[in-house]
Amino acid sequence: MRSTWRTLDRDLARDIALVCLADTIVGVSFGAIAVSLGLPFWLPMFLSVVVFAGAAQFMFIGIVAAGGNPIAAVVAGLLVNARHLPFGFAIGDVLGTGWLRRVVGSHLMIDESVAFALSQDEPRRRQAAYWVCGVALFGCWNLGVLAGAFGGTVVTNTDAFGLDAAFPAVLLALILPAMRDPATRRAAVAGVVIALATATFLPAGLPVLLALVGLLVGLRGLRTRQEVAA
């Protein structure tokens, strides 16, 4: 791990630290909201350790607290988390080799760690960004949830701090360099349009997966250009 730290430069460490801070605050709110909904205090902590995916966790406690069917809560959470399958194909190699690294690294796969890894060009820096972001966010998220579950309703409205805008901005800033590639840009724009068009009537999670259809737009342009070049 020492080499990981040496590879990580100070700017990247600072960027990850900021995301950790924001994540901790959302974690505190998640713990506090879960308890204030009347759920047992261990549930948000248990979810944060075994699921470790904010959107799915919020969805799960929302359905359970409303008296919903636990199967519905599990299905809704799994649907939201299905995007990790294509994430794993894309960044599977940054986890490293060996079963321990693969198992632990897989559990640390979240939007932020994937986006930080993709934002780096060099393989060693990719790996460092992924692991440091994943480990740090796992720690911050769980500490935040623990504090929120015990501390009660200190921070429940994270929207007042604009944190709901901060997280998409984090991902946007990290994927923008990749958008300089025209094929990727076309695919992403098409994907966003598809996701937005279907989000109003499909359950959460599906619209984001359907965005992958946008790849056809990007790849078709690529093939056409290759044919022209040939």
């Binding site: 248990f46 994430f87 080799t97 604009g162 901060a166 998409p168 946007l172 996701a195 965005a211």
Partner: protein, 106 residues
């Protein structure tokens, strides 16, 4: 809901999520990935993240999220495009949304 049912449901969600996460790295290690496929998979991840940004920016569940959040993300996006440091981008995005809400704009 009983405690047992809650533990079970949360555990199933955790196991299922892990299966999604684990499948990619394991399958990748078993097959030879061509540079073309490598590129496509990286593009797929970017498309997914872009779709997450798009839906999170404009929608709250299935309803319009209001003005403050997309405005904040747009400010962040413009700053990021102009290669302003990441920390400034994120704080400006959150600050814009928070300020608009403080002014009574949802």
């Amino acid at each position: 809901m009983t405690t047992t049912a809650l533990v079970f449901a949360a555990a199933v969600l955790g196991i299922g999520t892990f299966a999604f996460r684990f499948a990619g790295p394991v399958l990748r290690a078993r097959v030879d990935v061509s540079p073309q496929l490598e590129r496509t998979m990286a593009m797929a991840a970017i498309v997914l993240l872009a779709a997450l940004v798009g839906t999170a920016a404009l929608l709250d569940g299935q309803e319009f999220a209001g003005v403050a959040r997309p405005a904040g993300i747009a400010v962040g996006g413009v700053l990021a495009w102009r290669k302003v440091p990441f920390v400034v981008v994120v704080i400006a995005a959150a600050g814009t949304a928070a300020l608009l809400r403080l002014l009574g704009i949802p």
